[in-house]
Amino acid sequence: MTTIDQSLVTRVVEAALLASSHPLPLVQLKGLFPLDEPAPDNSVEAALLELQDGCATRGVELVEVASGWRYQVKTDVHPWVARLWTERQTKYTRATLETLALIAYRQPITRGEIEQIRGVTVNSNIIKALEERDWIRSVGHRDVPGKPELLATTKTFLDYFGLKRLDELPPLSELKDIGELEPQLPFEPAIPVSAAALDTETPTLNTPLGDDAIPASSEHINE
């Protein structure tokens, strides 16, 4: 029987990750070693760590995303690499991004609910384009008249944005309490710009995600 040692496991894992056209989950990596010649316990995990460390000075890195492990070009060398492809669609309109954000943070959500928050109708082409990219999908229908589709994001969406889980999305800013609106005189002049005013803008944006951090919107899901 072959001796499957750590160095062989590492080489197999590296080659497999590079050979595959999509991220490989741990279980599939382990499955490369047949039952009668299994990789030693934890050797695949050790291989991943070793390979990840080995990327420190290289042009690629090993990352874990929603559907598994993959190698990808490091951000800092990407501008050079991107010259391989002259035409690549890398920009998305605000309408697309806002629609995507609402689906990501408030899923499952209907198109009507998206329109309610954005204050405008959602162009069908946006939904269609997001579906064609396999970033969103219908996960059912809300049980209200018209049975609107409930939309949610996919693993492909997470993979594309290099995320492992939904809760790795940037945290949603908190709503400020509107209990005490300042009483207002009708024709007050505009309030001068003050540093204080700026500071009140987005206090939560830089809050680091804690372990149990989930998008703040989760409580709205079943509204």
Binding site: L18, T75, V120, F161, L181, A190, T202
Partner: protein, 306 residues
Amino acid sequence: MTSETSTGSTAAAAAQNPNTRPQQQEMPLAMVLGQPLVEVPKDLYIPPDALEVILDAFEGPLDLLLYLIRRQNLDILDIPVAEITRQYVDYIQAMHEMRFELAAEYLLMAAILAEIKSRMLLPRPPSEEGLEEDPRADLVRRLQEYERYKKAAEDIDTLPRQERDTSLVSAFVPDRAAVRLPPPVELREMLLALHDVLKRAELFTQHAIKRDALNVRQRMGELLDRLADGAFHRFESLFSAEEGRLGVVVTFLGMLTLAKEQLVDIVQEAPMAPIYVKSLVTGDDAPALETLSSEFDDPEPAEFQA
């Protein structure tokens, strides 16, 4: 996540700099003739060819309203409704005059603002059950809600993403021939098949095969293996005492069955003379039969009725 930010990179990388706090009033609304249009001109004079792109730059009335509020660094919780309404309506008016078809939402918002404004102007009588809700409350709620998702969209846009900030990589695989794994088989499946075939052959009645017959079958293979050289072997040499009585019996039965199936020849030249056994299986390159183990420590010795 974003581990490194490029030093020699493009605007894309710059946008990822976490220290650059997005500031509404500096975001170009549009590019007009190659120049970024940072804000709607205060005098509301808008070049005709610019108005359309500006309109496109707003994602609806809430977005326009937020822009107007943020442009003046106003607190969203403290909107000077009258002033904002005036600006908003002026703006809508301008676009209307340019005969742009305005989405109904923009006009609806103008109506909402006008209503809030008029309610703000009216003296609010102290209510019996506490304070009456501020007429702006509902609008503020909507603006806040919209703003957080607008911000979330910007945040998502700064996530390092495929194609723009990174690319998937792969190595060439010289031979992509798929491995074809044999199908899985459950023992039960095999037994069911055997059940069927035996039933078909009506063998149940003819062969009362007991479980130990398999021991015998296994021993038959082993015996054939030991006789594989084609030479005569002393009958006794085929037994091993260490296996005990049971082992000896099984070997004996195996030998008899082999003889019956004409796989071995058993010869004794004279009464009481040594008995020799020779394989009738024609010698060949067949691999040795050593793969069958041969334990006879079955805790429940059974009768042998071959």
